[in-house]
């Protein structure tokens, strides 16, 4: 049984890991888009009528497929990650009070993005990120307040 303090620390770790995963996924999506742009740019230089349009369409389809596959892979991982994650912890015999201290961090810590990379954004389902966040604003009457925004912080 985890104490409240340990629970909070655990939740913070999970939250941080999810944020790292989101950033990694965004970077991957951007990299994919950049590669597509580059290919399209060079195709435009070689433009020769109908064949160029076909080639450009093929490039777009190729990268759309890559993006779709990336999202599907991420979805599959998302479905199985929480279950394995918690069951692994629950089955850990060292959860019992008479366990000797662990000599490694490997089995006691939650998986990090390096251990188990995922392309899934746990905060939304659009596959391209987007978080809710609050920022300070000055409203009418010179009153300081906070406003909620939804979007991606670049």
């Amino acid at each position: 049984m985890l104490s409240r303090g340990e629970e909070i620390e655990w939740e913070n770790t999970v939250s941080l890991n999810k944020q790292r995963e989101t950033r990694a996924r965004r970077a991957k999506a951007k990299s994919n888009k950049d590669a597509e742009k580059t290919e399209l740019k060079y195709e435009r230089l070689d433009r020769d009528g109908v064949s160029s349009t076909k080639a450009r369409r093929a490039i777009k389809e190729k990268y759309a497929k890559i993006a779709e596959e990336a999202m599907n892979v991420g979805g599959a991982k998302e479905a199985e990650t929480p279950q394995n994650f918690y069951s692994k912890k629950n089955e850990d015999p060292r959860e019992q009070s008479d366990q000797s201290p662990s000599t490694t961090f490997e089995s006691n810590n939650p998986p990090t993005p390096d251990d188990e990379p995922s392309d899934v954004d746990p905060f939304d389902g659009d596959g391209f990120g987007g978080d809710n966040f609050e920022l300070d604003i000055v409203t009418d009457g010179n009153t300081a307040g906070r406003a909620s925004f939804s979007g991606t912080i670049l």
């Binding site: 920022l135 300070d136 604003i137 000055v138 009418d140 010179n142 009153t143 307040g145």
Partner: protein, 167 residues
């Protein structure tokens, strides 16, 4: 229309700067306030500089909090802050300059100025009475910077004290 917060510190060229660990006017960045109000997580603040022939120090002060500089021959108090406001608002600059020798002339001077990121501004130099206050209207701005300086000289070197505040 609402204004997104800048700061927490900064200047007209760099409106988004982290609060410095050491408050020093040499960094040329100052606290960013919401008109005369506190931010949800940051109280209204100005950066002061107390300068005299015997000491110099810098720090932060709250709205309405007097800042006092002591000298033998001269003393100066500088007050600096930035603001964001959706509407014009008034601040009061108060000063009180005294010599330790009663009746000694102290030649008080007062300078205040403001500039906004929208390009408006005002500069005022005055040789006021030894003490007093003045209301200054600061315009609505997405980012404005204000500076005031109160200065006095005791030519006989009896000792001088300058106090100033923004409220």
């Amino acid at each position: 229309m609402a204004i997104l917060r800048a700061g927490p510190w900064g200047n007209l060229n760099s409106p988004h700067v982290d609060e410095p660990a050491v408050k020093d006017d040499q960094t040329n960045i100052y606290p960013v306030n919401c008109a005369r109000s506190d931010w949800p997580n940051q109280p209204w603040t100005l950066l002061y500089n107390k300068n005299s022939d015997i000491s110099i120090s810098t720090g932060t002060a709250a709205l309405g909090s007097p800042v006092t500089a002591d000298g033998v021959i001269y003393a100066t108090v500088d007050l600096d802050f930035n603001w964001q406001a959706t509407e014009d608002f008034d601040v009061t600059l108060q000063w009180d300059m005294t010599s330790t020798q009663s009746g000694s002339s102290i030649y008080p001077t007062l300078i205040w100025q403001y500039y906004t990121i929208e390009g408006t501004g005002e500069y005022v130099f005055d040789t006021p009475s030894d003490s007093g206050s003045i209301n200054i209207t600061l315009p609505a701005s997405t980012f404005g910077t204000f500076s005031a300086s109160a200065d006095a000289i005791d030519t006989y070197g009896y000792g001088i004290q300058v106090e100033a505040s923004i409220s």
